[in-house]
Symmetry: C2
Subunit: 122 residues, 2 copies
């Protein structure tokens, strides 16, 4: 696997990390990546009604902020939440966010009949 | 004082709150608003090298996300961090963010020779 460039842990700053998490689709992708380490971009985005180019942009924003690692694995790109780096750099930040994201109605969770990003969002 | 419209606590969602906090200037304004409740927009923005129109936009984003309350007080606009609402709606979220923001080098920290409100901020 070939890892894509990412910022070193000690260079991470808070605002870009919050920005990377401050979008419903990105928050859902992070939640899924946390639950399913090493999964592929396409598997993690399954059922989200988001254009591929938008998804690529989301992954890039999260990688550049230091939230995820991305590695090229043949035709796939594998994602890993940088939980360890984030917890060391920003103690106490990630856990409540993941917990709160988990507790909210999920963005893009497929609903019966028609997968939609907005149907189950209050 | 005339309060400007803001979302009710029970309608707040996580992603817009993280987005509102996910900008270095907004994070610094929130940090200052937390330290100085009821202060005015202009006092809180003192020393930040940001155009007025950009600042207005920052305040609006934070108000609409539910991060701050804003009230018109004569010619001033007074800001209050919605700490109570945020803590009840998103337990465990705000404290680490404020603590981490406090610990980071501040956006808008003055350069030598130029007086600023943030002189005594790390």
């Amino acid at each position: 696997m070939r890892p894509l460039p990412e910022p070193a842990r000690e260079t991470l700053t808070l605002a870009p990390v919050l920005h990377a998490l401050g979008d419903p689709v990105r928050l859902e992708l992070v939640r899924r990546a946390w639950a399913d380490p090493g999964s592929t971009c396409s598997a993690l985005a399954d059922g989200l009604d988001v254009p591929m180019s938008t998804l690529s942009n989301h992954w890039r924003i999260m990688r550049e902020a230091g939230v995820i690692s991305m590695a090229v694995d043949g035709r796939h790109r594998r994602i890993r939440l940088r939980g360890d780096d984030l917890s060391r750099r920003f103690p106490g930040l990630l856990d409540p966010i993941l917990r709160l994201a988990e507790a909210e109605p999920q963005h893009g969770a497929p609903s019966p009949g028609r997968p939609s990003i907005s149907e189950n969002v209050r």
